[in-house]
Amino acid sequence: MRLNLTVNGEPRQADDVWEGESLLFLLRERLGLPGSKNACEQGECGSCTVYLDGTPVCSCLVAAGQAEGRAVRTVEGLAEEGDLDRVQRAFLEAGAVQCGFCTPGLIVAAHDLLARVPDPSDGEIREALAGNLCRCTGYEAILDAVRTAARR
């Protein structure tokens, strides 16, 4: 099938999409946006988190066809004019990035949290990020990064 959607503000089209493909596959393999990650492809890790019409979703659980006519924003679309978003900067500075495979999903999830709750408590941060697994950091630096981003 042919799909039309908006990705990071740009109209995009994809042809020959098989009905069983996920939005994650579409982004990564057909649209050249591999920033959203594929750690589990079963909705358990959050590494594939993107905004779909402004709401964060696990793109591995969304069929590509469901994105027809809708707006997707990925981690690649967070930096404005090349300047890192405050959440991206804070992750970098706090040492919240090791292997970085969890990072794109966590950054989108944290970006969404701070848009809804400008000054979250530690408990609120933990609850909001509980769907994003990280195997490297033990989350301490990630908490730090979100606290720092909130202060900016």
Partner: protein, 774 residues
């Protein structure tokens, strides 16, 4: 087909250069950090080529079976399929393996574990490949599984490999073998099968080359050991198998053995097209080795005063179907089997066994993790038998510099075991904050709302751990670094090239820091790791900062000598004691003699250095005596837990760690290692286990195999000691593994303290706490 070695082919721009400032001891930003937060860092699963095919692997549904037939006719008929391959298509030895080549690339006449690769498919879409795979007809004759390691060693079970079912047996004996003691405690302990659960799935892209060779972009832990194995399996010389590191999404030991390497190359060479392979999470559970499950029998004898007199133990490690790293795991468990304690009389027997369970191999802290659970449980039992505080009994036996290990090796660098334990003990305890308003997120059971602090009991537990750093037992362990210094755009610039694998730990940052410190050059770029340079050894055994750090340091010194020779030629004989600081050549008196840029002119200084740590020796085959380890790393943990004793649910409230690292090369990255390692230990203590029954993996998903989330992970305060090891570069001590060893036992000790249950198995399950597991 052209094959651009050097960069992973993808659709996004990527470069691994960095210009952050900061030398040794600072915490500059990672050179790959900006790319990672932008989503532009090229991981192995991001590799892409417009002409590429997708490869998939058909795996055995049985733990143990004879293959009577394989029919690929129907699979080949599926439109879009380019190749269906079996063992008959493997041109080389059809064998691979880290320490022994005993594992088929594709199974021939028998499968020895659930998930063993049997056939490969390449097709134009991953779904086409999967559909074709389902049409491969394999006839199996199911054989009984061999599921128990202890039985595999001693029992009457069929031999799974020509030499029998013992992969390795190590016996360590020291002192009086008949020693007796005032107080004796015995125990039998078990450790479950843990998974590395790195987030980046096994993946890569193989590209056939015009010279009949292949270029492979892959996430791994040791490029050259992959290359060797691919060459053996494909029957190609090393110059025809060129491997470049693609971005690695974590490793923790799980990428030491091959996954897609030979398979993707085989498919690429057969089809003449680039082939991408990416495991999904379920396949990842089948596609890499796990932490060895263990059964450990221990007997500790002590005086009435609590001084250890003897330790006797028998340890069984389940190696699963193939050898992998089992020999090294057995060596570690045996030589570190009494822990960081002084004991004169020791008898340890440790076996690694072949079974038809999933193959087990490397995972962070291997061998040491399993032993630590048993010896630390024993120390708590001893404390109870003596009526002593658990910390006190450990302090009375803590080893120190100059102590003699059970192998007879004298520890010749700082071993501040008692100090580490005091550091975690002396921290103030977290308050018991369950007041009027209950925060469910802080409760056992969390937002499932299972308790509002009724039936919740707090406990505090301690544990110590020790790990060998670098490769041991006489292994010729080296790393290689090439440095090029020249003037670029009016500035001195250094390019570093090694084959060392960055898995997330931050080695790339430390390489830059070392160059900045040694050569006073701000601009340091890193070439991608590949096999065009000699081996750096594996990213394992906490060794890369020590080994590749050591190689980069040695290469810096070689470059510096050349700079000084140039300076002499230009400036005439100069005083001794020169150094390079801030782009200048500086005299011992502190005066600036010349600008580095001027001295270099148009010269390119290019030095390659191979660097080794001091040699170790093999273990004596009868007594297990020998100078087996280069260095020891130590950590201590204190865990505080809340336990819902009615439901058996645990909330870890705080997990404090103290570790000696010799030198904190990059304090921020170091904290990341300590936090990450501690969390993996926590996972093993209370939630992580691959459930295997009759050789079958029952929970190959993140739905059923749980790793700690941010809600499961508590605040983790850390104390770092920096007591230099005189034998190591900068005095540093490998830091990645020690925090993964004592954290699990500390958490279990805390649950014991809260509940009074014996808890002889890790991970602890709710039914162990509620006593309803019978």
């Amino acid at each position: 087909m052209t094959s651009p070695t050097g960069t992973v082919p993808t659709r996004t721009a990527e470069a691994t250069t960095g210009r952050a400032s900061g030398g040794v001891g600072d915490s500059p930003q990672r050179p790959d950090g900006a790319l990672k937060v932008r989503g532009e860092f090229a991981y192995s699963s991001d590799a892409w080529h417009e002409d590429m095919l997708w490869g998939t692997t058909l795996r055995s549904p049985y733990a143990h079976a004879r293959i009577v037939s394989i029919d690929i006719t129907e699979a080949l008929r599926v439109p879009g399929v380019y190749a269906v391959l079996t063992h008959a298509d493997v041109p080389g030895a059809n064998l691979h393996g880290l320490e022994r080549q005993d594992q088929p690339v594709l199974a021939v006449d028998v499968v020895r574990y659930h998930g063993e690769p049997v056939a490969l498919v390449a097709a134009d879409h991953p779904e086409t490949a999967r559909r074709a795979m389902r049409r491969i007809e394999v006839g199996y004759e199911v054989l009984p599984p061999v599921s128990d390691a202890e039985q595999a060693v001693h029992g009457d079970v069929p031999a799974l490999h020509p030499g029998g079912n013992v992969v390795r047996h190590v016996r360590v004996v020291r002192g009086d073998q008949d020693a007796t003691a005032d107080v004796v405690v015995r125990g039998e302990y078990q450790v479950g099968m843990q998974d590395q659960a790195f987030l980046g799935p096994e993946s890569g892209l193989a590209m056939p080359a015009e010279d009949g060779g292949v270029d492979l972009f892959v996430a791994t832990q040791w490029l050259h050991v992959d290359q060797q194995q691919v060459c053996i399996a494909l029957g190609l010389p090393p110059d025809k198998v060129r491997i470049t590191l693609a971005g690695v999404g974590g490793a923790f030991g799980g990428r030491e053995d091959l996954s897609i390497q030979v398979h993707a190359c085989l498919l690429a060479l057969h089809t003449g097209k680039p082939v991408k392979m990416v495991y999904n999470r379920e396949e990842s559970f089948y596609g890499h080795v796990h932490r060895h499950p263990a059964t450990l029998y221990y007997e500790h004898g002590a005086t009435h005063e609590g001084k250890l007199v003897y330790v006797r133990s028998r340890i069984y490690l389940d190696g699963g179907a193939y050898t992998s790293s089992t020999p090294a795991v057995v060596g570690n468990a045996a030589t570190l089997g009494v822990g960081p304690y002084d004991v004169d009389n020791v008898t340890i027997d440790c076996w690694g066994a072949y079974t038809t369970n999933p193959p087990c191999g490397a995972m962070r802290g291997f061998g040491a993790v399993q032993a630590a659970f048993a010896y630390e449980s024993q120390m708590d039992k001893l404390a109870e038998a003596l009526g002593l505080d658990p910390v006190e009994v450990r302090l009375r036996n803590a080893m120190s510099e100059g102590s003699v290990m059970p192998t007879g090796q004298v520890v010749d660098s700082p071993a501040p075991v008692a100090e580490l334990l005091r550091l975690v003990r002396d921290r103030s305890l977290p308050t018991n904050g369950h007041g009027e308003s209950v925060d469910l997120r802080a409760m056992p059971g969390g937002v499932s709302n299972t308790t509002h602090a009724e039936n919740v009991v707090r406990g505090v537990g301690y544990a110590l751990g020790v790990k060998n750093i670098c490769f041991s037992e006489g292994f010729d362990d080296y790393s290689t670094a090439r440095l090029r210094l020249q003037v670029v755009g009016g500035e001195p610039a250094v390019e570093v090239h090694t084959a060392a694998v960055e898995v997330g730990q931050g080695l790339v940052t430390i390489e830059q820091q070392i160059v900045r410190t040694e050569l006073g050059v701000e601009r340091v770029t890193l070439r991608p790791a590949d096999t065009t340079i000699d081996s750096a050894g594996g990213t394992s055994a906490s060794r890369q900062t020590y080994m590749t750090g050591g190689a980069v340091l040695a290469a810096c010194r070689a470059v510096r000598d050349r700079v000084f020779a140039l300076a002499r030629a230009k400036l005439g004989p100069e005083p001794t004691g020169l150094s390079l600081v801030g782009g200048k050549i500086v005299a011992a008196t502190g005066g600036v003699l010349a600008d580095l840029v001027d001295v270099l002119g148009g010269n390119v200084i290019d030095e390659t250095v191979q660097w080794r740590h001091r040699p170790t020796t093999e273990l004596d085959p009868e007594t297990g005596q020998g100078f087996a380890h280069v260095q020891y790393g130590f950590a201590a943990h204190r865990a505080v837990v809340d336990v819902d004793v009615e439901l058996g649910l645990v909330k870890v409230v705080e997990l404090a760690c103290a570790q000696d690292v010799g030198r904190a090369m990059n304090p921020k990255a170091l904290l990341g290692q300590i936090h990450g390692g501690s969390t993996q230990g926590l996972g093993l203590a209370v939630m992580e286990e691959i459930q295997v029954s009759d050789g079958l993996i029952r929970n190959p998903s993140f739905t059923d195999y749980l790793i700690p989330t941010i809600l499961d992970t508590p605040p983790m305060p850390v104390d770092v000691l920096e007591l230099a090891d005189p034998h190591a570069p900068y005095g540093l001590r490998g830091a990645g593994e020690p925090p993964a060893i004592s954290s699990g036992p500390a958490v279990v000790a805390a649950i014991r303290a809260a509940t009074g249950m014996a808890l002889t198995r890790m991970p602890v399950r709710p039914e162990h706490i509620t006593g309803t597991d019978h």
